[in-house]
Symmetry: C2
DNA sequence: CGTGTGATTGCAAGCGCTTGCATTTTTGTA
DNA sequence: TACAAAAATGCAAGCGCTTGCAATCACACG
């Protein structure tokens, strides 16, 4: 970890032990090619000398990196977006799972293609593979990247034409679930809050409109509100929207954070949730069950999804092909939809 | 990124350009030692050949890693703890700031000292320095680690004896601020919710008791509730506590998540916030201003702190000494304390 | 007491890149 | 036109490690 200069190398250990470097290498790697006695002696010496192997050199020699790059392709400056608890959970799972498989995790917030290294504008091969958490608006770049640089798994909206491995929730199904739940509660004028420029949100929107249609209703464009992820901005954007009441009696919010922002505005305008307006969120973030009213939401299987992404990536690294995976979503009924009122 | 075998190397580029490897290296690095014309030509070729430099080899040659390890020393399994939005914000800032300085970020959830690499039980030197986000219960290990492995900066409770660089909020001050705010509002029976085993929380507790004392009050042990970070557990733990009402009329919660959990229990018990009980949190997480009631809290300057940590680490890497830094905290008055009622 | 055998160990090349120094080419000038 | 100086390029060693293959060693057997 320390300055390279003060680091003790295998050569040093070899000298101390009076053997060759190769023997040290083998001893430390646990090879049976070296006599058990010698092996133990060398390990002892290495330990006492506070030796730590230079992974860099090791990996170079082994032609591997044992590192996976995890990328959150998020616009710089929008700190809040990454604040969405969803991202952390995902990151935590990925780190754990990759760790189990012996991989390090290299974090990035910017996609490799806009990376401008000072003096050298070339993408560095610093990982064995990469995981994109969210494709955002970068679909085509990711596709190119996958083709050129190989092992890639991405979290996001799964859609037919993908020729790389995408793992994502059944957003359409989730949107349908949320919307038809409110419909079944008797709501008929349901608004949509989210950013349909993002593929995932787009899919949730599709589920929303499908549900409306299958109840013989159609989408009211005035009730489709382009709402960003960031809670502050969501609050601002939904401010004028609530004034439309009573043109709506239900809200499908694309994320719990947006739901929280919307509820705040509704209260402020004296509109009661869920008595006057039902609201259903998406994500099932940790606090959603504890705020007031607690938020009815669509649960995504983040933990399992993370595991699957890692499995897939390892598979790809091993030469297997990997198909996209769509994860089931689940409706978690709490207070904000008002289901408990209609009993 | 792809399998090493298919990667094009500098040697290949050299051959294509009809120059030596050294010239390619220099051209790509932007050295003025190579003629401008040649440089452009080589870059062109490299670009077309889809060349990407092998950072690993480069770093080995340069005796650097250009990588900083960021460690969240969090007990495995407690996913929720890392879910605290605080961690994400910190991580995002660190990644950005380190990136600006040309460093990659290696994520870890486990401290290096309990790392057991298969076959090789030696700590790998894979980074130029390390940042611990939170010392948790690992104070002494971190100290040892800092001594042995050099460049270390840690986020956490700053305390006198530290011989490594710690950056942290003025937790005592924050605790005092929160508590005396409620005292000034006329509250006299203020409870404390947090986990005093953790140094930061311990300090917040100290601020809490100082504030009480300076108002001629003393700590009521029955109102000091050991409450974990995890919102689910916090909810459980504070459940029996609320039954103590009206033995308390104020709550200082060590984190906003705990505040959210406590408020949920209070409401459930029919106790009104802030009319019956004032509550002040800590962290100023994104949603704290938008839940109902919005949460009065102590703001930590996460963003600035992250920047400072990076500055400090770069300094240490450059051979400078780095003293601990204590960051100011700020009281953000919102609804949950009831300040607006007493006007 | 030779010699074959398997168990250990060492040699040296190589991973892809950087860089000090020597070498070659170009340029400026007498 | 010749030659010194400056500019551009190449050579080769080295970063710390792994590993195929050759060399050595200990021992047992005939």
């Amino acid at each position: 970890m320390a300055r390279r200069s003060s680091e003790v190398t295998m050569g040093d250990i070899a000298r101390m032990a009076g053997v060759s470097e190769s023997t040290v290498s083998r001893a430390l790697a646990g090879s049976t090619l070296v006599a058990a006695k010698t092996r133990e002696r060398i390990r002892e010496i290495a330990h006492n000398a506070n030796f730590s192997i230079n992974e860099q050199a090791r990996n170079l020699a082994l032609r591997q990196t044992r590192t996976i790059e995890v990328i959150f392709p998020i616009e710089r400056g929008t700190l809040q977006q990454v604040s969405d608890p969803f991202f952390v959970d995902m990151l935590a799972v990925l780190t754990d799972e990759l760790g189990k498989h012996g991989y390090d995790v290299l974090m990035s917030r910017s996609p490799p293609w806009d990376e401008e290294r000072p003096g050298c504008a070339f993408l560095g091969a610093r990982a064995d593979g990469v995981i994109f958490v969210g494709q955002g608006r970068h679909r085509s770049e990711i596709r190119d990247f996958a083709r050129k640089h190989g092992p890639v798994v991405v979290w996001g909206a799964v859609s037919p034409g993908d020729d790389y491995c995408v793992v994502g929730s059944d957003n359409v199904g989730g949107g349908r679930l949320a919307t038809s739940h409110m419909l079944s509660l008797g709501r008929r004028k349901i608004a949509f809050l989210g950013d349909t420029d993002l593929p995932e949100m787009r899919q949730r929107f599709e589920g929303y409109s499908e549900a409306l249609q299958s109840h013989g209703l159609s989408v009211d464009d005035d009730l489709v509100i382009h709402t960003p992820f960031d809670i502050e901005k969501a609050r601002e954007v939904s401010q004028p929207f609530v004034k439309l009441f009573p043109r709506f009696d239900g809200i499908f919010a694309c994320s719990d954070m947006i739901a929280i922002a919307a509820i705040a505005n509704l209260r402020q305008a004296g509109i009661r949730v869920p008595e006057d307006v039902s609201i259903v969120g998406f994500d099932d973030i940790p606090s959603s069950g504890h705020v007031s009213p607690s938020i009815t939401t669509i649960h995504q299987r983040i933990h399992r999804s993370g595991q699957i992404m890692v499995e897939k990536l390892i598979g790809i690294l091993g030469g297997e092909a990997a198909d996209p995976v769509v994860m089931e979503t689940e409706l978690i009924v709490r207070q904000s939809c008002g289901a408990h009122l209609s009993e």
